[in-house]
Structure formats: C-alpha cells, structure tokens
C-alpha cells in the first residue's frame, strides 16, 4: 500500500487545477446555454482537448494512457470545482471499455475518439418491456439478411434517446439456443430508417428515458461487437463496468455537503438526531470512496473488478436515497412544494433529488438483482432465481 503523491503527480494536479480555473467561465456557461445539448457537447470537447477525458484509455484511440493516480487527481479536482457532468457518460462508462476489450481494431478507431470528444452521443438499448431484471429473456429479434442484420423489437429505459447519434443494443439472433447463448451485441445509428423514439415521462414529471422501437431496421454486419450469439458475456462485463467507478461518490459528496449546510446553524448541527445521521452518511460515503479506490487498484493490477462492483452499486444507491430522504425530512413540509411555490426551499431540488434517488436502485440492475449477484458470485450461494 502506498498513498503518497510524487512531485510529478503534485505538479500534474496543479496544472489540472490551473486549467479548471482558467476555464471556469466555460463550465458555468453550460447551465445557462440556450441549446444545452450543444453546450454540453462543447464542454466535453473542451475538456477532452485539454486531456481530461478518457484518462485511462489508450492514446491510440484518443485517450491519455494516464496513470491511475492521475485519474484520481483529475476526478478529485473536478469534484472540488463542481464542474458539470460529461454528456456522453453512457458511451464513456459502458461502451468505451467494452469496445476496448471486445471491439475490432476498426471499431475502436472508428468509435472511441468520437465518444471521447462528444462528437457522437450514445444511448443503450438493453431492457425491454418483458425483460427488465431478467435481461436475458429479451425478445428483440435480429435476422441476418445478406450483410445486414434486420432488427425488430422494442427497447425501454433508454437515456438520451431523442438526442443520441448511436445506440448499442442487445438482440436475439438465435431463438432456438438457450437464452444466454442466442444474444448478439450491435451498434446502430439512431437515424437508420425504421427507428422511432417515444420519450417517457417519469414520476417526477420530467423526461429522462425513452422507448425505442425498431421496425425492420437494417444494421451492417460490421457493427456487430464480438462473436455472433456471443453478446451476453460482453453485456455482462459491460454491466460490471457500469456498476464500478467513483463517479457516484462525487455527486454524493455535493448532496451530503448540502444536507449538512441545510441542517447546520453556526457550523454545527444542534439536533443530535440529524447530526448523528449526517455523520453516519459521511462514514458511508468515505467507505464508498475507498471501496472505489480499492476497485481501481484492482483494475490497475490487472484484476477485473467483477462482482465486487455490485457492492458499490448497491451501497451507493441506498446511501443516495438516505441522503435524499434526510434532506427532504429536514426541510419538513416546505420540501413538499413544487419549484413554482413561493414557499419552496432549495428551488424544488430536494424533491427532484429524492425522486431521482429512487431510480438508482432500479436502473442498471435493481438492488434485488445486485443482492443476487453478491450472494451468488461473491458468497457462492445457490441461485435464487433458478436460472442457469
């Protein structure tokens, strides 16, 4: 174990901090832009050009080949500066690492740099109305006709659906094979004829997810990732990537600090119940942070984060909900007003954050599934779902 930063690392941190300071006005402009999508793309490109996107990715594909320490430094500095999040997060966190491992060289060169720069925004087409937790039961069909897959079916819970340029999706290519052995992993332009997107209004009243319908959509065969019928294993490693990482810690830090400031008067929280509660959340957040750092250390050492990432996903979702609930509870009835109300506290962010938090134990694998994964893959207990 070694926690020291070298002089070179400290210098790297300083350069990063200076860049952020010099570009703070660009970051601030994102929230106020007339075209927020374009502004977010511009911001991601600016960050990438400065060398602060895709730190872990190979230089050959637009990355930085940075050290793990540099990654940690950048994420710390970004968190400290409260920079806006990257818009192409699904491409960055899920598809990118998947293509690095399972893509062809041509696919890597074609797609990876444009993910990093934000030139091509990605959405994910995994879940279906009948295939949520039981993802392997998906029924969207793809039939090979000549050099094209012809895809028909419906995907659900797609983020960025209306604005994405591309979609990576799971399709059933062999209906006669066992469930997990007949699935393939495809990449698809969102402007391909036959695709239609229907935004879904969520419980909070906003729109985040979409349904995506595929009606005889033709996808060239070279947009298959990995082996034909071999998509399930690739998706599974993708899910593990999605669940790991420290990004959750950063946004949670902001929520916890707001919770503290909301409850504290004169620097201290006088109410013992709220004080003990806030301290417990800090403890849990630190636990999550160092769990993430341990997972990163594993990755650096060439060990797959694997099922241990589920631990972080499960714990982070619960903590996020606890912090969001506490913020709501502490504000009493004032928190239960809409953002239009003259009496609302926190401009309606408390309720929005609470609704949002409830999604974290559903999306990307429900907490029930995470429990199954930990029980089965970490503890070696027999399967509870009975699936193979």
């Amino acid at each position: 174990m070694d926690l020291k930063f070298t002089a070179a690392e400290e210098a790297y941190r300083l350069r990063c901090r200076e860049w952020i300071a010099a570009n703070a006005h660009h970051a601030a402009a994102v929230a106020k832009a007339a075209d927020p999508v374009q502004a977010a793309r511009d911001w991601q490109r600016r960050l990438w050009e400065a060398g602060y996107v895709g730190l872990a990715w190979p230089k050959a594909y637009g990355g930085q080949d940075a050290t793990l320490t540099q990654q940690v430094i950048v994420s710390e500095e970004m968190a400290r500066a409260k920079l806006p999040p990257l818009i192409n997060t699904i491409g960055l966190s899920i598809l990118g690492p998947t293509l690095v491992r399972h893509g062809t060289e041509a696919q890597r060169r074609r797609f990876l740099p444009r993910i990093l720069s934000g030139e091509e925004l990605w959405c994910q087409g995994f879940s279906e109305p009948g295939a949520g937790s039981d993802l392997a039961s998906l029924t969207t069909r793809a039939v090979l006709e000549g050099d094209d897959f012809v895809v028909t079916g419906q995907k659900l819970w797609t983020s960025l659906g209306p604005i994405a340029d591309w979609c990576f999706l799971l399709v059933r290519t062999d209906p006669s094979a066992p469930q997990r052995e007949g699935i393939s992993y495809l990449l698809c332009r969102m402007d391909t004829p036959g695709i239609s997107v229907r935004p879904l209004r969520n419980a909070g009243g906003g729109v985040h997810f979409s349904e995506v319908f595929f009606d005889a959509v033709r996808i060239p065969r070279e947009q298959l990732v990995g082996e034909l019928h071999g998509g399930w294993k690739i998706a599974r490693s993708t899910l593990d990537h999605e669940r790991s990482g420290l990004s959750g810690v950063i946004s949670l830090e902001g929520s916890l600090e707001r919770l503290w400031r909301q409850a504290a008067a004169g620097g201290e929280i006088a109410d013992a119940v709220a004080r003990q509660q806030a301290a417990q959340y800090w403890i849990e957040l630190e636990g999550l942070r160092y769990l993430g750092l341990r997972a990163l250390s594993d990755q650096l050492a060439g060990r797959q984060p694997g099922a241990s990432a589920s631990v972080g996903k499960l714990f982070a979702a619960k903590l996020r909900q606890k912090v969001a609930r506490a913020a709501l509870d502490n504000a009493g009835p004032y928190a239960c007003l809409t953002k239009k109300s003259p009496h609302v506290v926190g401009k309606g962010r408390l309720v929005a954050g609470y609704f949002d938090s409830l999604g974290y134990s559903i999306g990307g694998g429900t907490s029930e599934i995470m429990h199954n994964v930990i029980a089965e893959r970490v503890l070696g207990l027999p399967r509870s779902t009975g699936e193979a």
């Binding site: 879940s127 009948g130 949520g132 937790s133 039981d134 039961s137 659900l156 819970w157 879904l200 209004r201 969520n202 419980a203 909070g204 009243g205 997810f209 119940v273 709501l328 509870d329 009493g332 009835p333 928190a335 239960c336 007003l337 809409t338 239009k340 109300s341 003259p342 009496h343 609302v344 309720v351 609470y354 609704f355 409830l358 999604g359 134990s361 559903i362 999306g363 429900t366 907490s367 029930e368 429990h371 509870s384 779902t385 009975g386 699936e387």
Partner: protein
C-alpha cells in the same frame, strides 16, 4: 368492549370504497398535477353531501350520523386510497370541531350548512415558524370595536381555496382559541402553495380581519381538540394511501413474470410486501385506538393520535417507496399511479406534524406515565 369495526362502520367503509372507485379515477389526480390544484367536481361533492358523509363524524344531535371520529376516519382512509381531493377530509374535521366544541348558536348557524355540503370548512393553524400545532401559534386576535382583529399569515391551510369557512387558531389572551372566518371576509387572501401532490394547499393572509367576539368557538380546548381530530384524519388518509400502494404492488407482483416465475414468489419481493402489510395492520390498530380515545375524550388520546400519525406517516412513505422499487422502471413512470401515492404520502407525512414532532409528544406522555 370491541376493537373491531361494527356492522354500521363496515358498511360505511365498503360503500365509500365502492363509490369513490367509481366516481373518482386516479387519472384525475394525475391530470391535476399539470393543472393544480386538485379539486372535487361539484357533482361528486353534491353526491357526498347527499350520502350524509360530511356529518358522519358529528353527533346525531348536531345533525350528523353519530359515527364519531372513527366514522370520519374511515371516510378519510377511503379518500386517501382513492387519491381524492382533500376537501372532504377537511370538512369532516371542521364539522367535528364545531360539533364537539361549538356553542349552540354557532352549531345551529353553521353545522346544517356544512353537513348539507354548502359550506366546505377547514382548519387554519400552522404559521411560518418551522413547527406545527396550536402551541406554536403566535397570531394574536386583537380586541377592538366590539370584535377581534386578525392579522398575519397561516400557511399549509388544507383545501384553502375550496373552503367557505376557516376555523382559525389564534391567541386570545393566554389561550389559543378557534375563530370562524368566512372565506369572503374583508382582508382575507388565499395564495396557492403548490404542493407536490397538487392538493389545494394555500397560504392565508389576514389583514385586520374582523371576527365577532361572540362567534369565537366557546370551548377553550377547541383548537387543540380540533387539531388532534384533524391529525387523526390525515393519518387515516395516509393509511388509505399505504393500503392502495400495497394492493397495487401485490397485484403487480402476482402477474409480472421474470426468470420464469411471478416475481411475488421471490422473497426479496414477498417479504418486503409482508413488512408493509405488517405496518399497515399495526398502523390501523393505532388509528382505531386513537379515534376511539378521541371519541371517548380519554386522557391518552393526544398520545395515541401522535402515535398513529407518526407511525402511519412513515408506513405510507415506505409503502409508496416499496411500490416504486418493486414495480421496477415502470413504477417510475408518469402513467402509473405509484408516484401519485408517493407524492400524497410524502406530503401528508409532514402535514399536521411529522413523525419526529409527534414522537416528542409521545415522549412527554411517557415522562408523565413513568413519573
């Protein structure tokens, strides 16, 4: 001694459940989120009056059905289950307050109109001071020219733009008393507060509003008593919401198949729902106990009301959160009713006191009991 509902109460509850299920769809509650506030259609209001519901909690001498607070609570529970606009519950609370604490003149003047449905009524107690209840009331009625004058602000007034009459808690001398103020009275203004469940909650601003001294509710304990009854009815509304969230999730768990089995056969689902069921039954027991104690005017009524409100508020939020989680993504969509119950439960859980505030009442009761 009987702690279960008698036949008359069971009949009232069943009729209410059937009628509301027919006359008020969750779709209306959803639509109200885009066009707040959620208000009762005049025809439905008239129908409820026709059924005599607004007098359910009033004595027969007062022109009601004599079913007591427990009768009113059963109606409030069904209102919560059906996501009905709150005005019926507020009117029940107001009617009971006058029936229990009003003098003969006030009763004769107001109760018939309230019970007939022509005068919706509500309580105005809370003020912008970060807490709840009559003890926190600061607004003082100033004596002058033969009457009392009210100035200041009451917030979180339920059904404030529907009510024709406000029962306003204000300090008169050393006591917090209840004063009737007509909605149209000079100097009264209602400003919408925009609650997340689109219920008709307002801030009431009083600018030198005049109340005849002899119209003050005569019973000096009326404000506290009315607040306790209203708290019990809000708890009942929460219990109904919890029951509805549990029922819809149970139905979904029986029918949604994943991994080749109904998800309700997985203990991660079934045990979570069983826990909600346990809390609903414990909460129901507390609610009945609180209502009976109020009806009997027992000394422990305040503690039992606090217990019921604290427990059921947390139960209803938990039931709605369980509904979101166990429906998965679909429970998170606008089209499903899950979020309607989550909104109502969250908002009502902090109406008429949150759980922590009520537990402080319980702690004082314990200190008294164990002294």
């Amino acid at each position: 001694m009987d702690f279960e509902l008698g036949e008359e109460l069971v009949a009232l509850r069943d009729i209410a459940r059937d009628l509301l299920a027919q006359r008020w769809k969750a779709e209306s509650a959803r639509r109200a989120l885009d066009t707040p506030p959620s208000r009762m259609p005049a025809q439905l209001w008239a129908e409820l009056a026709e059924m005599g519901w607004f007098g359910a909690g009033c004595s027969e001498a007062g022109g009601g059905s004599g079913l007591g607070v427990i009768g009113a609570a059963l109606l409030a529970e069904e209102a919560g289950r059906a996501l009905l606009p709150g005005a019926m519950t507020s009117t029940l609370a107001g009617a009971i307050a006058l029936d229990r604490s009003g003098g003969a003149a006030l009763k004769a003047e107001l109760l018939p109109r309230i019970i007939a449905g022509s005068l919706p009524v509500t309580l105005a107690v809370e003020e912008p001071n970060g807490t709840w209840g009559p003890d926190a009331v600061v607004m003082a009625a100033q004596a002058g020219d033969g009457g009392l004058r009210l100035s200041g602000s009451k917030i979180f007034v339920a059904d404030g733009s529907t009510a024709g009459l406000f029962l306003v808690a204000a300090r008169v001398g050393d006591e917090v008393r209840l004063l009737p103020v007509e909605a149209g009275a000079a100097g009264v203004e209602a400003v919408p507060m925009q609650r997340i469940d689109a219920q008709d909650i307002v801030e009431l601003r009083f600018d030198g509003v005049r109340v005849e001294a002899q119209r003050m509710v005569p019973d000096a304990g009326a404000a506290h008593d009315a607040y306790a009854v209203w708290t019990a009815l809000v708890a009942a509304d929460l219990l109904g919401s919890a029951g509805a969230a549990l029922a819809m999730t149970t139905a979904y768990a029986k029918e949604r198949v994943q991994f080749g089995r109904a998800i309700g056969s997985f203990q991660a689902v079934s045990h979570r729902l069983a826990d909600v069921q346990v809390n609903v039954e414990i909460g129901r027991s507390l609610l009945y106990a609180a209502c009976l104690a109020l009806d009997e005017r027992r000394g422990d009524a305040g503690a039992l009301v606090a217990a019921a409100k604290a427990f059921i508020g947390e139960t209803a939020v938990d039931a709605a959160e369980a509904a979101v989680q166990l429906h998965g993504g679909i429970g998170y969509t606008w089209e499903l009713d899950v979020h309607l119950h989550l909104r109502r439960a969250r908002a009502n859980a902090v109406t008429a006191g949150d759980a922590g505030w009520h537990r402080e009442t319980v702690a004082r009761h314990m200190a008294h009991c164990y002294a």
